[in-house]
């Protein structure tokens, strides 16, 4: 029978790995992720989880250990955050190139310097182009469930997947969690059976020197696999509902039916957006929420369909994209580009380094959205001494 517990996002992630029967786990401590590996260590030590836990000396090595174990046919898991994910970067590429369905949880934290352990999605979004599937959890439940969902798809397409969870807002916040029945998860997520695993009886070289005759085709296959992952995420999300009682999809809409204004967000921030939408609706504003659950593969077609004909769209970006807009906005604009009925996309950069993004803040954003004509590249919300608005031009700064 499923169990109902009150747990933090971090502990939920550990439960997600356990329910997925991760076999080899390798991780390195970093705030605010540490609780995940602590709990996994306990679960492994107590025998509740039959896994091998490799306590490596760096995140780079954590990912390398996962890459090795995955290549040898084991289901592997790791968790990290911020600097750790950045350090893993090279091996994130490796997992993709070697087509290894490693799953990791990234507790998103701001990048140093200066040191900041607080919520900020720049870390994970900086890994946009490595070729990992990327899901953003909004709740403790999703912090657990998305790991299971990820494995299901990742192992079918031989691509790795990472689940993003916001620092503290989710990682350290306790919420009720349904811990699924293990047999139900087993029914949903079969044993990992890779096309090839390192095996002395079938001695092949994994990777190696690939010259110009072959590299492109091998990479093309990654594009195809990621494309397939888009469809499989939908199917596997539906099936999750059938087997485990909660249905997931790459995009989630809220009060969208008649919405003229749509706020797009990802991650834990979305919960406050949900409240703001309800509050605004009470004031008669036709606003809805579109939550980006899957960032990679990006649900381009669904987004174009959903946002077609809306009056304006606000994207909340808790991340850095200096020289351009926030990263989510750039992606949304890109997805909508060329559509004749596409709305203008307004990018609101909010809450960098874990600064609170309150319901009121979002309502201010909504007011700005309704009144502003020029979307500019990006609009900054809550910078001390400045109203919501674009980057100041040199002349303004000098004055």
């Amino acid at each position: 029978m499923p169990e109902r517990l009150l747990l933090t996002g971090n502990h939920a992630a550990a439960y997600g790995a356990m329910l997925s029967r991760a076999e080899v786990i390798s991780a390195y401590p970093i705030t605010p992720q540490t609780m995940i590996v602590e709990l996994l260590s306990e679960l492994t030590a107590s025998g509740k989880l039959d896994a091998t836990f490799i306590t490596v000396e760096s995140e780079h090595s954590a990912m390398a250990a996962c890459v090795g174990a995955s290549a040898a046919g084991a289901r592997t898991y790791t968790a990290t955050s911020g600097q750790g994910l950045a350090l893993m970067h090279e091996m994130l590429h490796w997992a993709v190139g070697a087509r290894l369905p490693v799953v990791l949880t990234n507790v998103s934290r701001a990048m140093a310097p200066g040191w900041s352990i607080w919520a900020d999605q720049t870390d994970i979004l900086s890994q946009r182009d490595v070729g990992w599937m990327m899901l953003f959890a909004e709740s403790v439940q999703e912090a657990q469930d998305f790991i299971i969902w990820s494995y299901r798809v990742a192992e079918q397409v031989h691509l790795p997947a990472m689940v993003g969870m916001d620092a503290f807002i989710l990682s350290h916040t306790a919420e009720p969690l349904i811990v699924h029945d293990q047999s139900a998860v087993d029914a949903y997520l079969p044993k990992f059976e890779p096309i090839y695993a390192l095996d002395p009886e079938d001695p092949r070289a994994y990777g190696g020197l690939v010259n110009r005759d072959h590299y492109f085709e091998l990479r093309y296959k990654i594009f195809e696999a990621m494309d397939r992952a888009g469809e499989l995420l939908v199917a596997a999300g539906e099936e999750f509902g059938e087997v485990l009682g909660r249905r997931y999809a790459p995009l989630e809409g809220y009060l969208l039916d008649d919405a003229e204004y749509v706020i797009v967000s990802a991650g834990a921030l979305t919960s406050n957006v949900r409240q703001a939408v309800r509050d605004a609706r009470a004031r008669g504003i036709k606003v809805g929420l579109l939550r980006l659950v899957a960032f990679r593969p990006f649900p381009v077609a669904a987004m174009r369909r959903i946002l077609a004909g809306r009056r304006k769209v606000a994207v909340l970006d808790r991340n850095m994209g200096p020289g351009h807009s926030g990263i989510f906005a750039a992606e949304v604009r890109s997805a909508l580009f060329g559509s004749s009925s596409a709305p203008e996309v307004f990018d609101y950069v909010v809450g960098l380094g874990g600064r609170d993004v309150r319901v009121e803040t979002i309502l201010e954003v909504l007011d700005d959205l309704i009144t502003r004509d020029d979307p500019e590249m990006a609009l900054f919300v809550g910078v001390k001494g400045l109203p919501i608005g674009p980057i100041r031009k040199e002349a303004e700064v000098l004055r």
Binding site: T52, I54, S70, A72, A74, A98, D202, Y206, V210, H214
Partner: protein, 301 residues
């Protein structure tokens, strides 16, 4: 065949090593003892190339090509997975000096400290040869490389990797070279018998283009390294118990090792370098003899 070296081959021909490649030979000889229930992890190094271009490869065991700094930990990951599958497959991390002394040292230290059940082999050609002869921390003092040109040859002594490894107290570590194939084979066998923990082999591997020696002198130069005591052959058990496995007799003057190699041209210009090198070699040997002697004594505690 009068060599106590197995006839079986686990490297197919068609490898892309340069003529006279000591690294290619070292792999051949090591695998002869390891056998085919093994998986090799190759970080960036000459062997990334030697194993052949995709879609071919030369080793008759599976290979996982990995990032420069990750040989030890990827091997550990593979070993963990194989053990979970109930297989006692030998996992070999096979890295050059760059991937061991330099960029791979952190992961190596981690694996050694955790006493991972892997066989780590460093084939040491004393510089970054695959990128075209740049100095590494394994480059001996006085050596020419493209980043330590004749006017400013390598200023520092070679890093004592065996000392670093011994400090991790792993069950077995040894130096070897293909010029002494039976010694090498025996050490691989010993390493195989010490399975359960980390095994480390430091193999000196001549690089004819990088060392500026004729290809046919590759074995000779490795032999001279041993006979001049520049590269002593010894083993270390549990990081403490040293055994010198070969005592050259007579000892070759170091000049005969240096003089064979164009990379040591700076020694010709600076006799002080030769004297310093001789002193280093003598000191190191004396220290090894002390350790050897000490290891023969019954434990006092």
């Amino acid at each position: 065949m009068r060599w106590a070296v197995p006839e079986a081959e686990f490297v197919d021909p068609g490898t892309l090593g340069c003529q006279g490649c000591g690294g290619a030979l070292s792999m051949r000889l090591v695998l002869k003892e390891v056998g085919d229930d093994a998986i090799a992890v190759l970080p960036a190094c000459c062997w990334s190339i030697i194993d052949g271009p995709w879609p071919t490869h030369a080793l008759r065991i599976p290979v996982f090509h990995t990032a420069f700094e990750t040989a030890a930990v990827v091997a550990a990951g593979i070993k963990a997975a194989k053990r979970r599958q109930g297989r006692d497959t030998t996992v070999i991390a096979w890295a050059g000096d760059g991937g061991t002394f330099d960029i791979g040292l952190q992961a190596l230290s981690g694996a050694a400290e955790r006493n991972e059940d892997i066989l780590y082999v460093c084939y040491d050609n004393e510089a970054y040869m695959n990128t075209g002869i740049q100095r590494s921390s394994a480059t001996p003092r006085g050596t020419w490389t493209t980043t330590t040109p004749d006017e400013n040859p390598e200023p520092r002594i070679k890093k004592d990797i065996m000392g670093i490894i011994a400090a991790h107290r792993i069950p077995y570590a040894a130096t070897a070279t293909a010029a002494y194939p039976e010694d090498l084979a025996r050490k691989v066998r010993t390493a195989m018998e010490a399975r359960g923990g980390m095994r480390f082999l430091h193999i000196l591997a001549a690089c004819p283009p990088g060392w500026k020696v004729a290809a046919d002198q590759a074995i000779e130069v490795m032999r001279r390294a041993v006979r001049s005591r520049v590269f002593p052959l010894y083993e270390v058990r549990d990081g403490r118990h040293y055994t010198i496995t070969y005592r050259p007799e007579p000892v070759l003057p170091i000049e005969e090792y240096l003089g064979l190699q164009g990379r040591f041209a700076p020694f010709g210009a600076d006799p002080a370098l030769v004297a310093a090198a001789r002193r280093e070699v003598d000191d190191r040997w004396a220290w090894l003899e002390e350790q050897h002697e000490r290891s023969l004594q019954p434990a006092t505690t």
